[in-house]
């Protein structure tokens, strides 16, 4: 990797900023898929309107500015696809939003942070978008923010996410037993960690 290699342009996807007006509609649609919400987070699943999401984006951008310990990216297709491509009179620089990845809770004194990633539409999963976005976010965390380690939490009922993080070099470190109650039973919440060494090792292996 070279300092001139783009941090934000991947083979399939781009890391891009929020576009509140358009993205709120899309994320509102995702939020009506309870399975998506429950795979993503322990928070109470509930659908959100586009208006509410727009408000949340404003709060988020304010928090990012004020705290300086959070970085947020949307994941977008590198090129417009399908119908989008046909809208010739509406030139677009990039494709639709697929999901998001963000680095939060940065503790600058210890060089640690938390990472969260989601791909909203089930049809966009298992295509390598998440894995490329995660790889790029890791490079951003270790080679631009110069962090030392990242944490991620995954419910045990999300094997796709477990595999995603493991393939990227994360190690399962903690099992919070029975920390989740969903679908009439208890599940463990797993905590993954990746330290700089793990990341470098993973890079040299996948080269």
């Amino acid at each position: 990797m070279d300092v001139r290699d783009s941090l934000f342009d991947g083979r399939l996807i781009k890391l891009a900023p929020l576009d509140p007006d358009q993205d709120a509609e899309v994320e509102s649609r995702w939020s009506h898929d309870a399975e998506y919400l429950r795979l993503l987070s322990p928070d109470v699943a509930r659908p959100l309107s586009a208006a509410r999401l727009k408000k949340k984006y404003e709060e988020l951008e304010k928090r990012i500015d004020e705290s300086g310990n959070q970085f947020y990216f949307t994941i977008r297709l590198r090129e417009p696809d399908g119908e989008e491509r046909m809208e010739a009179d509406k030139p677009r620089k990039m494709g639709r939003m697929l999901g998001f990845v963000y680095i939060s809770w940065i503790s600058w004194n210890s060089g640690t942070a938390h990472i969260t990633l989601g791909i909203g539409d089930p049809a966009d999963r298992r295509k390598g978008y998440g894995s490329e976005a995660l790889k790029m976010a890791l490079r951003y965390a270790f080679a631009e923010l110069n962090l030392h380690r990242l944490d991620a939490v995954v419910p045990e009922y999300n094997p796709a996410a477990l595999r995603l993080f493991e393939r990227a070099g994360f190690v399962q470190e903690v099992r919070h037993r029975q920390a989740l109650a969903r679908g009439g039973r208890r599940w463990d919440l797993l905590r993954f960690g990746i330290i700089r060494d793990d990341w470098e090792k993973n890079l040299s292996q996948s080269r």
Partner: protein, 198 residues
Amino acid sequence: MDAALFSGELVRLVAPDVEFAAEAFYRWVQDSEYQRLLDNDPARMVSVKKFKEWMEKDFVEKEPTDFCLFMIRMLAEDRLIGFVGLDGIRWNHGDSYVGIGLGEREYWGKGYGTDAMRLALRYAFDELNLHRVSLSVFEYNPRAIRSYEKAGFVVEGRARQFLNRDGRRWDQIYMGILREEWEKARGDWPSTYRKESG
């Protein structure tokens, strides 16, 4: 029913009264070891005024729905020696983090913290009806780890190299206690904590 939910063997739990609590927190942060055992934030000085403002905002003007903070007073001298708080309560899953700090270092290692933790656990399980309680602790704090084990917590894993202090990296250890483990553990605790029969 337990008449004395807030009273243990050595300590009792009281409300975070801004006047006393802010003075105490201000005194405690002068002790850098206390701060570095407590959390990962850079150790720093905070004025009484600032502590008062935070507490006014968080515990007087509103009552947080995901955070129960208690101050710890000794039963013997009624002295304010620390705090314990159930923080980040996830009501939908019945899980919460617990944090505890004893600011008065002459009372470290004498059972006050363990007693306060037992009270916090009884509150979590008997009043809030949680299913489990979680905590994290630094590997350079064996005294706390021992106290948590005495209160019934089990190690659930460790986040490698989580901290960077005094020129080296340290792990963060995660511990948890399930309701059934608490039920079992308190059988060995002083009668204050045992389940009343009948």
